[in-house]
């Protein structure tokens, strides 16, 4: 068993010595990149591109550090459970295999938060522009040319403007944007501007001011919630990782020799696997919940 471990280390050392460190990393990154291009869905590729452009995606060095951390931690934890190198290697592979999924969840969260940020900029600025231009399309043009929006919202606003001129009506532009960005604030603001354009402008100053206050309250709520959830998430992960070490407590209570005797039984081995898998499942499930629900509305 030890032989296999030494063999793996030896292969890595030989590979590393034959190439320079940078080349070895490049080789790994290239291979991972090829696999990613092959299997990652198109929508996720777009999301990841944007997250990269925002500077929020991990660098290859950070990914390498994450892989090493996951591999090391899973090896130590599983070895503490089973005292078996083969089993530990299997767990190391499983732990590394989870990393792309975590990256997927993280990118989706960053992207959703970014889109919400842009949406609140879009709605707030359009309302403010409307106060000076008294025209929805002119307001959109003002927001677009001010450069406060980034893609994909900026290009969608441009598309709205083009559609409005092409159709001679803002209805299609609004439907286009509502369909792409299903947020209450977007729907309500568009509905109001549609009414103003179709039915004539009443005294809308107070209404638009109230709408701005609503957006401010929403943004404040979302940010506050983000801070709360982030601190809770941190504790959740720490707690989950600490739970893996509960087996150490058992070993202290029983003594190492008794524990080694205990894990000779198949039933005990099954229970130990179930404990690790259940703990990992809850951690992943919590991670998914945290990243998927960003609270925008």
């Amino acid at each position: 068993m030890e032989f296999i471990l030494i063999l793996i280390i030896a292969i890595f050392v030989v590979l590393y010595r034959q190439n320079t460190g940078a080349v070895t990393y490049k080789f790994i990154v290239d291979k991972v990149g090829e696999a990613y291009e092959k299997f990652a869905p198109y929508s996720f590729k777009k999301i990841r591109e944007k997250v990269k452009a925002l500077g929020m995606e991990y660098t290859p060095q950070q990914y390498t550090a994450q892989i090493l951390l996951f591999a090391g931690a899973s090896f130590v934890v599983s070895y503490l459970y089973f005292y078996n190198i083969i089993t530990s290697i299997v767990y190391v592979i499983i732990a590394i295999a989870v990393i792309p999924y975590l990256a997927y969840l993280r990118c989706k969260r960053v992207y959703s938060e970014f889109i919400f940020e842009q949406i609140q900029v879009y709605t707030t600025n359009t309302i403010m522009e409307f106060a000076t231009t008294d025209s929805f399309v002119k307001a959109l043009e003002g927001v677009y040319s001010s450069g406060v929006l980034e893609d994909p919202i900026a290009s969608d606003v441009k598309e709205m403007i083009n559609m409005a001129y092409a159709n001679g009506s803002i209805k299609e532009s609004i439907d286009y944007m509502n369909k792409k960005y299903d947020y209450h604030i977007v729907h309500n603001m568009h509905q109001l501007f549609l009414q103003i354009t179709q039915e004539g402008a009443l005294d809308t100053k107070d209404t638009l001011d109230a709408m701005l206050v609503d957006i401010d309250m929403l943004v404040e709520g979302v940010y506050r919630d983000r801070i709360d959830r982030s601190s809770f998430h941190k504790s959740f992960v720490q707690y989950g990782v600490l739970l893996y070490l509960m087996v150490m407590l058992i070993q202290y209570l029983l003594g190492i020799d008794s524990y080694l005797k205990l894990i000779d039984q198949v039933v005990v081995q099954v229970i130990l696997h179930l404990i690790i898998l259940a703990n990992s499942y809850f951690l992943l499930n919590g991670e998914k919940y945290y990243n998927e629900n960003v609270g925008a509305e």
């Binding site: 039915e199 959740f236 179930l274 629900n293």
Partner: protein, 258 residues
């Protein structure tokens, strides 16, 4: 066990060939069994499946399933029939009888919660429409984009208004259909907005808008708290399962040492 299997197959064949009717006993004694029906059972059924549902038929199904469970369990225990086993069979039958009711109640509770969270957002849309239209027109225009949960109530409300009912009743019926926090107050406010003169409509709308915004904030806070609670529950579940596993291991080691 073999006798039980043969019996089940025989009963199935007789039932299929209409030689016997297992539901006749329930139908004949329907009046007595109806006393077991919960007071709010029909209301809960209608709120889930609509008005077309037949509560009696579904109640008979509940009874039939409970009877089947009792009979099957008694047959299973037939070689060692004790008082305790008979009680256990009846308890299992009762649990089967009650389970659809419990799931209906859970659905209604969840539904009410959804209504509670969605009502402020729907009222906000209505408020925007009310800027340019009268309240009845705004209500009918809101139907298409309203959350599915409100569509039936809204259609009913608009129909009553169109039939000439200008009282507060249709609005109150809507509030009763969706009995959540503030629905009565908001529907009364909406009614007053509808009958008020156009001169002070603007001021009334601003007041309505402020109330809706406050409701929206409340719903938002509830939603955020619930999400944190969900994460807390996940933490507790994780502790429970991993801690339970560790306890089991300790127990096994104790058994081994004896």
């Amino acid at each position: 066990m073999e006798i039980l299997l043969v019996g089940v197959i025989l009963l199935y064949i007789l039932q299929k060939n209409k030689k016997i009717n297992s539901e006749r006993f329930i139908k004949d004694n329907g009046n007595y069994f109806r006393k077991l029906k919960e007071e709010d059972y029909e209301f809960l059924l209608r709120s889930k499946y609509g008005d077309d549902v037949d509560p009696d038929l579904l109640f008979d199904k509940r009874l039939r399933n409970a009877f089947i469970i009792i009979v099957v369990l008694i047959f299973l225990f037939i070689t060692q029939l004790k008082f305790l086993n008979i009680v256990a069979a009846f308890v299992a039958g009762y649990a089967v009888f009650k389970s659809p009711y419990r799931s209906l109640k859970a659905f209604y509770k969840k539904n009410l919660h959804q209504i509670n969270l969605q009502l402020p957002y729907f009222l906000k849309t209505l408020e925007v429409l009310a800027q340019h239209y009268t309240i009845p027109v705004a209500l009918s225009k809101s139907i298409d984009n309203a959350p599915t949960i409100f569509k039936a109530g809204l259609t009913e409300l608009v129909e009553k208004i169109n039939q000439g009912d200008s009282s507060v009743e249709p609005y109150m019926d809507f509030a009763k259909k969706y009995p959540v926090n503030d629905s009565m107050r908001m529907m009364r406010l909406l009614y007053r907005l509808g009958i008020g003169s156009q001169d002070n409509k603007h001021e009334q709308l601003i007041m309505f808008s402020k109330s809706v915004s406050a409701l929206q904030n409340k719903a938002r806070d509830t939603r955020y708290k619930e999400r944190l609670q969900t994460m807390e529950n996940k933490t507790m579940a994780m502790l429970g399962v991993v801690g339970g596993g560790a306890m089991l291991l300790l127990l096994l080691s104790m058994i081994q040492s004896f």
